[in-house]
């Protein structure tokens, strides 16, 4: 997993609420058996029209907005558990998603793929949208070690929360599996000492 510490970049605003993972990556693009190429199909049905031509009204096709930070309306990533949504965002180039509210499974999937989901207050989210739309060159600073977001150069700052363990993983590029593998003796011991055991299928 790629490390993330401090990021300063422009952002793409997507104020729509309840953006579900079917929009982020429609189901018909889930047929791959590897993690490559999903970025090309990110937000496909919003990004392209029915003839597969870029839809000029959609923000990712706008020449004005760009950057590795996505700022989105509340309840981002709801719906399907497909991790392909995180792969698609990462593949496209997003490293941070800021919203006032994230769906649980998406949040976990993002963190497992080097994308930092940052939850801010609804008021701060509005400030971000205003700052970005009034000047698309506005840079946003994301500081993971100190856990804050700042609208540059002199805009408001907001702290954010992140689980200590997940923070450590992201700062170092570690994934959970290495950690869990290191606990294998404990897991076997747990299996042997459980009071009620659901027998393996035989």
């Amino acid at each position: 997993m790629e490390k993330l510490e401090i990021l300063q970049d422009t952002a793409v605003p997507m104020p729509m609420e309840d953006i579900d993972t079917d929009q982020i990556i429609p189901a018909r693009f889930l047929k791959a058996i590897d993690k490559e190429g999903f970025g090309d199909n990110l937000f496909y049905d919003w990004r392209y029209d029915k003839d597969d031509k870029p839809n000029a009204d959609f923000i990712l096709n706008s020449p004005i907005y760009s950057g590795s930070i996505l700022v989105a309306g509340k309840n981002f990533g709801c719906g399907s558990s497909r991790e392909h949504a995180a792969w698609a965002l990462y593949g496209y180039g997003f490293r941070v998603v800021i919203s006032s509210f994230f769906a649980d499974i998406f949040k976990g999937n993002a963190l497992n793929n080097g994308i930092l989901p940052i939850q801010v207050s609804p008021e701060y989210l509005d400030q971000l949208f205003n700052a970005i739309t009034s000047d698309p060159n506005t840079k946003i600073s994301v500081n993971l070690p100190e856990q804050f977001v700042k609208i540059l150069p002199d805009g408001n700052t907001q702290p954010f929360e992140i689980d200590e363990y997940k923070k450590m993983c992201l700062l170092n590029g570690y994934d959970d599996i290495d950690y869990l593998l290191s606990l294998q003796d404990k897991i076997v011991q747990f299996e042997q000492e459980r009071e009620y055991i659901h027998k393996p299928l035989s």
């Binding site: 729509m16 976990g108 999937n109």
Partner: protein, 462 residues
């Protein structure tokens, strides 16, 4: 202080705590399917490690499979490749696979319960958000991403933070013609598509207790649509009767021992929930959705609102525009072109019986395409034994083979752009059933009535 059912099961599965914030949670059963497992198997191969507990892992092919001519090779090359990759991976790692053509194949959340794999007190995960379905048996069951599928493959555990506890009580008795799908669509309309985020829900109350296992599964299935990690119902005699005698159900002494444990699985009287909601069953009517998330639902007798508290005006307007609907418009009377009865929400034998009973001797409206897709080979077999397939096909339904089908349109079963589909599935997201498709979620009874009328009608009056 007493414990909730959720806490009892969760705490019994904690192997280790990390920083007091994350738990290493032991997983009893891991279901996998073709779409969210290949990258996890690749991960094991790259690391050169085995699958830790293959006898707690069960695979099936469901998302991508065609629902006609399943005996023939899959014609769509990418789907075929993905299903073949699942077979190869299961072969390589010695995982039990109920693949296409197997008598136990079907939608993963239909086959787990019907084979007796799902049992009270378990932790169950699958790379699919509707894993919450299994909570109907008093299990902690939730959907995970592919990185987590790999973690469970490698260690039979997951690193997770414990959700908060919510209890939703539905008191009293349901009106005639109101099904469990209407209960969950009603709860969603009250609590919104994000209202359960961060929580694990326990459903309680007389209206829940009186439901069959199939009906309970429909409710737990859509817990995720509220954003909840999962939802569960305390096991009772209905649960035990359902499990007894199924393929993987405990037998003999094991059965008695299991039953003794299962009977302890309920929230204590003085257990504390982080939040509680209470509703009256008599307030619930047949429900339909009008927007593009499952929280946007209303009673079939109501009109589309001007606004809702849980969405900004722009989001609300965008949603209605996509659906081709307007505020103030009644849902009753809207002409529909498609009916889909199926999905892990409503494709079980009870659902098929409800539809067959309603359409018996009637004809599907000539302008409607009506598909019925049984949730599993076993459901299909039973429907045929009961003669339901004959009733349904005589009425004009396409009686198809088992799979996820038009719930998510990964196979050929798609709804054409701009057309309405009244669907017993779980998601009315934009494009969910095909690019441009407009989905209206409803119960199997409301869907059956729409198939006959060609428009949305109240099944109680028709």
């Amino acid at each position: 202080m007493g414990k909730t059912l959720f806490d009892k099961i969760w705490d019994a599965h904690v192997v280790h705590q990390v920083n007091g914030a994350q738990d290493v949670l032991y997983i009893d059963r891991h279901f996998i399917h073709e779409v969210t497992s290949p990258q996890a198997f690749s991960g094991l191969k790259t690391r050169g490690i085995p699958l830790f507990r293959k006898d707690q892992t069960v695979a099936t092919a469901d998302h991508n499979v065609p629902t006609i001519n399943q005996h023939l090779p899959i014609s769509e090359p990418l789907s075929r490749k993905q299903v073949e990759t699942l077979s190869e991976n299961c072969e390589d790692f010695d995982v039990r696979l109920y693949g296409l053509g197997h008598q136990n194949q079907g939608i993963v959340h239909v086959i787990g319960p019907e084979l007796g794999i799902t049992q009270p007190g378990m932790t169950i995960v699958c790379g699919d958000s509707h894993t919450s379905t299994h909570g109907a048996f008093g299990t902690i069951a939730f959907g995970i991403g592919t990185s987590q599928v790999e973690q469970v493959f490698a260690t039979q555990t997951l690193l997770v933070s414990k959700p908060k506890r919510m209890r939703i009580t539905v008191n009293g008795q349901l009106q005639n013609g109101v099904l469990s799908k209407d209960i969950i669509l009603y709860l969603l309309s009250k609590l919104s598509a994000g209202g359960g985020t961060g929580y694990f829900i326990e459903y309680a109350g007389e209206a829940i207790r009186s439901l069959s296992m199939e009906a309970r599964m429909t409710i737990c299935n859509m817990s995720i649509e509220m954003g909840a990690r999962g939802g569960l119902i305390a096991p009772d005699q209905t649960t035990f009767d359902y499990i007894k005698g199924r393929k993987f159900a405990p037998e003999g002494e094991d059965w008695s021992r299991s039953l003794e444990y299962w009977k302890t699985l309920k929230s204590d009287e003085d257990a504390n929930f982080d939040i509680e909601y209470s509703f009256e069953a008599s307030d619930i009517e047949p429900m339909v959705t009008y927007g593009t998330n499952p929280g946007m639902g209303l009673k079939i007798t109501e009109i589309i609102p001007e606004k809702i508290d849980t969405a900004k005006p722009e989001s609300f307007a965008k949603s209605l525009k996509y659906m081709g609907l307007k505020p103030g418009q009644p849902m009753k009377g809207i002409t529909i072109q498609n009916v889909f009865i199926g999905s892990c929400t409503n494709s079980r034998i009870e659902d098929l019986r409800i539809v067959a009973e309603y359409v018996k001797g009637k004809k599907v409206n000539e302008s409607v395409r009506a598909m019925i897709v049984p949730g599993s080979q076993r459901v299909s077999k039973q429907a045929i034994e009961e003669g339901l397939n004959v009733i349904l096909t005589e009425a004009g339904f396409e009686f198809r083979e088992a799979g996820c089908s038009a719930c998510l349109g990964m196979n050929e079963d798609k709804i054409p752009a701009g057309e309405y589909c009244i669907s017993t599935s779980n998601r009315n997201f934009e494009g969910r059933q095909g690019p441009g498709a407009r989905t209206i979620l409803a119960s199997p009874l409301t869907a059956a009535a729409a198939a006959i009328s060609g428009k949305i009608v109240d099944a109680r009056e028709n």
